[in-house]
Amino acid sequence: MTTLELAFDIVVVAVLVVLAWRTLDAPGIFQAAVLFITFGLTMALAWARLAAPDLALAEAAVGAGLTGVLLVHVARVLEAAEEATAEDDSGAR
């Protein structure tokens, strides 16, 4: 493994760890969902570096594509519901 490949792998691993931490620590659900999509794409890159192209394709399509879309949609619905409840509360006072 050349130095350039090793450096690239270390960068990918560091990005994965940082993204995972930021996803769990995200200020809002929507930000967490977007970070999850980014994490899925970086994970697909990691699979490609591990010489597993089938896994990389599946991770990109399902993890980032479908699960990501589902999470973003749910985040939007939840935030809209929270805003509706907040308006009801402030209207009642």
């Binding site: 089938d54 399509a61 879309v69 589902l70 619905v77």
Partner: protein
């Protein structure tokens, strides 16, 4: 936490360059596999029982998430987005082509049923988000039939293998490639509809 991470790291370093696993056994049996790509051969021939059960799990997930009924309406807010509409015109045909290519290329290289099904499911979800009723325009009976198609085809193949060859899911000699392609096509349709229904079926809540 640090001690656990150090232990895992130590274990991972000792795993590296250790063994090739079952790669040698798979390569030895590739002649009877029917396809040229070892991953597809393992998924669809040597361990097709596991793939069958994965399709059943997907079917159960779709049933559980949809509570047994499928109904959805296009979200009105996003239907008026002109950017998404024009993006659809460009993207969806390419995605259909990519799904077909992935299904066909699974025999020679990376690809196969799950990748093609995921891309097709994503195309259906994209159509739905753009205001074009793709999955919700199909009659519910057709959606249910497509959901069941993958697991059902594997069941038929398994029964045929049991009757013709004496072992569950045993493909007749020489027909392995054709059987794999048929099963992959059914699985692709099933996976696409299941994944799309999991996302779209929630959309009206």
């Amino acid at each position: 936490m640090g001690a656990l991470g150090a232990l895992l790291g130590r274990a991972a370093f000792e795993l590296r360059e250790g063994s090739a696993g079952l790669a040698a056994s798979v390569d030895a049996q590739m002649g009877a596999g029917g396809v040229a790509h070892p991953v597809t051969a393992v998924l669809l021939d040597f361990r097709s029982y596991d793939t069958w059960l994965e399709l059943v799990v997907l079917l159960l997930a779709a049933i559980g998430a949809l509570h047994g009924r499928f109904q959805a309406a296009p979200p009105a807010g996003l239907a008026r987005d002109p950017l998404l509409a024009s993006l659809l015109v460009a993207l969806v045909p390419v995605m259909l082509l990519a799904a077909g290519y992935l299904l066909h290329a699974g025999a020679q290289g990376p690809g196969g049923a799950f990748q093609a099904g995921a891309v097709l499911g994503a195309a259906l979800v994209l159509l739905h988000l753009g205001g074009r009723p793709a999955l919700s325009a199909m009659p519910a009976a057709l959606v249910r039939a497509l959901l069941v198609l993958g697991a059902a085809c594997f069941a038929i193949a398994g029964a045929a293998g049991l009757v013709l060859e004496g072992a569950l899911l045993q493909y007749p000699a020489g027909y392995a490639g054709a059987a794999i392609l048929t099963l992959e096509a059914a699985a692709t349709a099933s996976i696409a509809v299941a994944l799309a229904a999991l996302v779209i079926g929630q959309a009206d809540r």
